[in-house]
């Protein structure tokens, strides 16, 4: 079983599924245009990918801090480009979040996407391939290929199945992200020229980049990851993309695509350009703190549910970068925890919005109210995720934010002081949102008429509920997997920074 290329199979399985749909599901042959069949196949394929990722997690050895399950195939030897895949304690979780969220998205889209179902499923499956590919690539060229490839399906998902201003949102998402990415491509080209190969593993070991070059390279990578994450002030595409995308698109955008930026910061900025990262750390922390406070304040002013959650995403991503660039152990741990927690919480919140959007087709907060009485199940589910977003102890949000704050405090107590405002504000906007949606008089007839969660919807939320509570009550089962790797990364980074200082 050792030679079985698990990672590649997992990566390309969704693509094969998409191809299957494209070639063999003929719309004309079915009364519903092949919608049910497409949904079934897509769900089966994504579940299979999930099973494979569980096998991967089971076979993963957390105590070994290098890359595991490496696969290497000669691709373009004359350019030092190889098809190299592998995972370590960090990327294993990023792969997991992709494979967990995709089936849930497909499940949720079964009800809410009614036009061009087959194409939607194809887009989701292609997107999954690109996501898993990004997180398992250990070659710059391959990484870029997948990282950028994400844009095509997401552009179509937003643009074809999105809301009223979908065209503007899709353009802004695509061009803004592309702008950052091409700068990253130039940086990759310079790195390749420097190392003579596109191997990431090699780039992590070698350290011979002149300081000035390293600073420029870091900025180029920063352009891409800061836009993707997104960090303030590069976040302006996000509210539009989130709001206009269909539910499944928003979930994957918040759950996985934003994490590609975080992953890039860890994998490339910190691991390959540690000295430059340390040099720019004050700036990163400054931007993160601004993001936390500013985005939270903006979230308070929103009248659109999705926009509010989108801004809360920007604030949460601020915690991630704050933790990472505090260069402390707790900060690193916390950042990783926030990433995982935010994936499930934000994903779930967007799914929650999707539930009421499907019923009433509006995202205006003021159109709802008093739903707690008619939709008790829904209110409960929403409550759990609201509290998790606030960071209540016992939910996943608490662990990450606490550790991040601790790390920030160790670096400088003022950082923690400012970041703490974000926690207060997050409680304010989330609880206020909850009050406006669920309490108050049930005065609107159409809101009163809305049915509670269906079985299918419960099925979508159940795994996320379990994960959020599990992560809050016993975070060790998540932490143990990534901690050794993260510790090693931190040690290496600190050593390199230390060397340069001497």
């Amino acid at each position: 079983m050792t030679s079985f290329p698990l990672l590649s199979v997992m990566t390309f399985l969704p693509l094969a599924g998409a191809l299957l749909l494209f070639l063999f599901v003929k719309e004309g042959h079915y009364r519903d245009g092949g919608a049910r069949l497409s949904q079934g196949i897509a769900l089966a394929v994504s579940l299979l990918a999930f099973v494979l990722s569980c096998v991967m997690l089971a076979r993963f050895d957390p105590s070994y801090t290098g890359f595991q399950m490496m696969e290497s195939v000669v691709w373009l030897p004359s350019f030092g480009i190889a098809y190299v895949k592998g995972i370590d304690g960090i990327s294993v979780w990023f792969v997991m979040i992709s494979t967990i969220l995709t089936p849930l998205c497909i499940l949720s889209a079964m009800h809410s996407v009614k036009v061009r179902v087959k194409e939607f499923m194809i887009a989701l499956l292609v997107l999954e391939t690109m996501m898993i590919g990004t997180f398992t690539a250990l070659d710059f060229f391959l990484f870029y290929l997948f990282f950028e490839g994400v844009l095509i399906p997401m552009f179509l998902i937003i643009g074809v199945w999105g809301g009223a201003k979908r065209t503007y949102a899709a353009y802004k998402f695509f061009l803004y992200t592309l702008l950052g990415s091409v700068l990253m491509l130039v940086a990759i080209l310079v790195l390749v020229r420097h190392f003579g190969s596109t191997s990431m593993v090699l780039a992590m070991v070698k350290d011979s980049i002149p300081k000035e070059t390293a600073l420029w390279l870091w900025l180029a990578f920063f352009a891409s990851f800061a836009i993707k994450t997104p960090m303030w002030p590069f976040h302006t595409w996000l509210p539009y993309a989130h709001v206009e995308a269909p539910t499944a698109g928003s979930v994957l955008l918040a759950g996985v695509l934003l994490k590609m930026g975080c992953y890039g910061f860890i994998r490339i900025s910190l691991q390959i350009l540690p000295e430059a990262s340390h040099f720019f750390a004050p700036m990163m922390i400054g931007l993160s703190l601004v993001a936390i406070v500013y985005a939270s304040l903006v979230a308070l002013a929103q009248t659109d549910v999705k926009k509010l959650i989108a801004y809360s995403s920007v604030a949460h991503m601020g915690y991630v970068t704050l933790g990472l660039f505090s260069f402390t152990r707790q900060g690193f741990d916390g950042a990783m925890m926030v990433i995982l927690s935010h994936t499930f919480v934000a994903g779930a919140l967007f799914l929650c919005v999707g539930v009421i959007y499907d019923r009433l087709h509006t995202r205006e907060i003021s159109r709802y109210g008093g739903m707690a009485t008619t939709m008790p199940k829904y209110a409960t589910v929403f409550m759990v995720f609201t509290l998790a977003a606030i960071g209540l102890p016992g939910t996943s949000g608490f662990v990450g934010e606490f550790l991040t704050m601790q790390g920030a405090f160790e670096a400088n107590s003022w950082y923690a002081f400012v970041a703490a405002f974000g926690m207060i504000l997050s409680a304010a906007y989330m609880l206020w949102l909850y009050r406006r949606l669920f309490f108050g008089p049930l005065s609107k007839d159409d809101v009163r008429a809305m049915p509670d969660l269906t079985k299918r919807e419960m099925l979508v939320f159940a795994p996320l509920l379990v994960l959020v509570l599990w992560m809050g009550i016993y975070p060790a089962s998540f932490k143990n997997v990534y901690e050794p790797t993260l510790d090693k990364v931190l040690t290496v980074v600190q050593n390199k920074v230390h060397e340069v200082r001497l």
Binding site: W75, L76, P77, S78, F79, F141, Y144, L145, F146, E148, G149, L151, I152, F155, L156, G159, V160, R166, T167, A170, Y171, F174, L175, L178, L179, V182, L183, L185, V186, L189, V190, V192, R193
Partner: protein, 487 residues
């Protein structure tokens, strides 16, 4: 240099010329009724010309180090660089014949001269590619240009087509004049028109007479005109829009490579030692083309015009490869061009499919909702557009990657940054096409596509764009060998 029998060296051209004469004869005897047969003869000519090139390269496996071969006292050079360029030109020309297969019948102006003219234009291009002397260069260039002038005006009853032909002819003649003037200056001040002798002149390190430099600049300007690089691009949008669509597809592919091969052979051959004199000028053309092609394309509403600006932007990217030079630069040029040519031919195949009740439509808004009415056509176009925008994992990204890798490798990082940023700008108009096809509601019903030639080109191009990522090695390795030998 080894001199071989000239018959042996010019075999592909000879085969093509004979087939061309035969096709001409058939056309004269049979008239317009035999247009298809003439097309077949021309396609066969392209095929045989390609075959002869490959069969003789097998011979060379026996006699190692045969390249480069010369004929006609150095007027004609045959090397791996020329071989590969010619193969690409032949494939592109064959594609444009396929694209025209039903076109002129539908337009009611089926004429058997068309394939013959394409053939002679191709022959001219092959002569350009293999030129070892300004004299043969000019001969090839004129054979190509004269055929192209007629092709541009091929729809005689159509005012736009006639205008395109006339415009192209006047400006083309002017640029030929500029070229001749440059050549005469170079000859006057150096005493030779032969590339090898010129190369020695520049390498010997003696001071170069300003007259030669002026001549060089004139030659560069004339070639930039043929390439439609900014600021010599004015003709391109009008001619692209006015010329019959299969002709436009031809313009955007094969002649571009011929001019480019010519430029590479000149600038990286005899004038490599004089790069201080031309580097700045080519740099300006490259940057201006990339930026102008990107920004001016934003305001186009005619599909053919839009593709003309896209071609201008792509010329800028190609010139980045020329500026980088070296083995990797030449290799990147080949990779970029082979992918680009197929890409743009595919895009024009889509334009050819756009007919409503038998009449051509070519404005952007006519594509509205194409994904509903013709899903496969829309999908093919979307793939081609994303590839032109250079989005991975499609083939277009590979071309850009290698071009800019070469640029960075040769210290042109700022050029890479400008190129990348301009590609983001141009991504907007490629995306707009996808947006119109996928996001908008259908306005008109496009006729189903029936032409097998167009379908072949479109399907092949789209498939290659997608599948290239899975096996890029053959093209990359082969072009590396060619570039290695050339530099």
């Amino acid at each position: 240099m080894i001199s071989a029998s000239f018959l042996y060296v010019v075999r592909p051209e000879l085969v093509l010329a004979l087939m061309g004469l035969f096709a001409f004869l058939v056309a004269i005897v049979g008239g317009n009724r035999v247009a298809r047969s003439v097309g077949f003869i021309v396609l066969a000519g392209f095929f045989f010309a390609t075959i002869t090139m490959f069969s003789s390269s097998r011979l060379e496996g026996l006699l190692n180090g045969v390249f480069p071969m010369q004929a006609f006292g150095g007027l004609f050079v045959d090397d791996a660089f020329a071989r590969l360029s010619k193969v690409i030109v032949l494939v592109a020309s064959a594609c444009s014949i396929l694209l025209s297969w039903h076109y002129f019948e539908k337009e009611g102006s089926s004429r058997s001269e068309y394939p013959v003219l394409v053939l002679f234009a191709t022959l001219g291009m092959m002569a350009m590619i293999s030129a070892g002397d300004f004299l043969s260069l000019y001969l090839g260039l004129e054979l190509q240009s004269l055929s192209l002038y007629i092709l541009a005006a091929f729809k005689r009853d159509d005012a736009r087509s006639s205008e395109a032909g006339l415009k192209y002819f006047i400006l083309g003649a002017l640029s030929s004049g500029v070229l001749l003037y440059g050549v005469s200056l170079i000859y006057g001040f150096s005493g030779t028109t032969n590339f090898d002798v010129l190369a020695n002149l520049f390498q010997s390190g003696s001071t170069v007479h300003p007259g030669v430099v002026v001549g060089l600049v004139f030659v560069c300007a004339a070639v930039a005109f043929k390439l439609s690089g900014v600021p010599f691009h004015m003709w391109a949008p009008d001619v692209y829009e006015g010329a019959p669509t299969p002709v436009t597809a031809f313009f955007a592919s094969a002649p571009k490579l011929a001019a480019l091969a010519l430029l590479v052979r000149l600038l990286l051959g005899p004038f490599a030692g004089a790069s201080v004199y031309w580097h700045q000028a080519v740099l300006f053309i490259a940057v201006a083309s990339m930026l102008w092609g990107a920004f001016a394309g934003l305001v186009q509403f005619n599909l053919k015009r839009l593709l003309a600006y896209s071609a201008i932007a792509n010329v800028g990217f190609l010139l980045v490869g020329v500026l980088a030079g070296g083995i990797d630069g030449v290799q990147a040029l080949f990779i970029y061009f082979s992918i680009y040519a197929l890409n743009i031919l595919g895009a024009f195949a889509v334009v050819l499919c756009l007919r409503r009740k038998g009449k051509e439509v070519e404005s952007l808004s006519d594509l509205a909702g194409l994904s509903r009415t013709n899903p496969l056509l829309a999908l093919g176009m979307a793939v081609l557009m994303f590839s032109l925008a250079g989005i991975p994992p499609l083939a277009g990204f590979f071309g850009k990657y290698f071009i800019f890798l070469a640029a960075v490798h040769h210290g042109l990082v700022f050029l890479a940054v400008i190129g990348m940023l301009s590609s983001v700008v141009s991504a907007y108009y490629y995306l707009r096409i996808v947006k119109i096809m996928y996001f908008d509601e259908p306005l008109i019903r496009i006729d189903p596509m029936t032409d097998w030639g167009v379908r072949l080109v479109l399907g092949g191009a789209a498939l290659v764009m997608v599948a290239f990522a899975f096996m890029p090695a053959p093209l990359v390795d082969y072009t590396l060998k060619v570039a290695h030998e050339f530099v």
